[in-house]
């Protein structure tokens, strides 16, 4: 399911226009990004948690050449599905 299909379904469900839907999606994503940048997480029952985690720096070794690289620390957006959703997977 690509973005276009997703937007269509969303506009149908909310009974708003496709343009309106894409604008609101953008707004929602903007709001969520602000939340993440503040270090908060977005938690929704039935869906899961979207949060930013910090990955520590590490030394990685290229197995073929043996070259050691120091990978810098980074912030990564992670998703953890809710247990409810996990149940549905089985």
């Amino acid at each position: 399911m690509n973005n276009k299909q997703f937007l269509n379904e969303l506009s149908d469900k909310c009974q708003i226009g496709a343009d309106q839907a894409s604008v609101q999606v953008e707004n929602l994503l903007g709001v969520m990004e602000k939340i993440w940048q503040d270090g908060d997480s977005v938690s929704l029952s039935g869906f899961g948690v979207l949060e930013v985690k910090k990955k520590n720096e590490r030394v990685s070794v290229n197995p073929t050449t043996g070259v050691r690289m120091l990978v810098p620390p980074k912030l990564v957006l992670t998703y953890k599905p809710s247990s409810l959703l996990k149940e549905k997977l089985k």
Partner: protein, 391 residues
Amino acid sequence: MDNKINLSQLAERLAQEGGMSKAAAEQFVKNFFDIISQRVLSEGLVKVKGLGTFKLIQMEDRESVNVNTGERFTIEGHQKISFVPDADLKERINKPFAAFDTVEITKEQADELAKMESDKDADDSEPEEKPQPVKEEKKSAKEKRLAQKQAQKAEAARKKAEKQLQKEPQKGDANPTVKDITQKKSTRCLLKVLIGILITILVLGLTLFMLWPLVGNRVLDIVDKSLNKEKIEVVKEKQSADPVEEAVKKEEVKDAPAQEPAAKPAEKPADKPAVQPAQPQNKPAEPAAKPAEKPAQTKPATETKYPVVKLNAQDEAKDLSEFTLADVVNYTMDGELTTHKLLKGETLTVVALKYYGSKKLWPYIAKYNNIKDPARLSPGIIIKVPVLKSK
């Protein structure tokens, strides 16, 4: 920081942003995530532009070992939802750490880093009490701060390893944490203390150095008086040792004076202590001694002066080029030539240069005027300039 934003909070913020009612916003957010979770299950893939891709992944069976019993067992294959954020979003999220690049390092550096890491872990776990893995799961506020702290420290270590210290402060500014600051403070304090000690040593040395002409003179006076009665030669040796050292020191401090005006202040403290104690002090003691002793006694004293004068010799007049130090003692004072009112900044050497053509002859003026301390003359006093006659 570390708050969990739920559906209603999210909807509220969206309502403010998007200009729709709170109920509509809530419905919209709910639908948004419902569609994702449903479609990911039914279709296996949902792409949302600006957010990322949710994907259903099949995990194969795999064998594992029960950590407690050591038994082998298989984890059955299952499905997992993976999420890959959009490249744009990923970049924006990682903005605080965007400045860092992956760097190639040597094995030694890697070992050192690992060592530092373990040390640092030990340090951090002490005040925080809880071990690291637990916190990682719980994702408490402490953990996040700790993680950042660690990152900064590790980063500092890394920079050290690379010998690129300039990036460190920049980092500290970006994400200041308590530990980082205290660490920096302690090093700064240490530096301050060190600098303070250095400055005090310098000041002490300087004051000693400045006061030496006075103190040194007095010491020499005392030595003179006590030793004059017995053996004058001992005195001579002492005088020759100390002033020369001092004179050489002073010369070093005031970089070799190339011009006449620059030479004068340097020469003033250097010359005077060197000769003053030698001649005026010894000569009054003379009358008791035989006249034959006189040249023998004064000569070594002037010899001590030799290195000092030689350093300043470049501003000697031409006709005095053959004027040797031995000549300095070959004069007797015979009456008053003239008087001179000492101007500000003038020294006896200047007066000597003016009337005799050689500043080396200043001790005669000092003696004629009974000046005890030629380094301390106030401007305005009248100085009698004696006539010098060669012997």
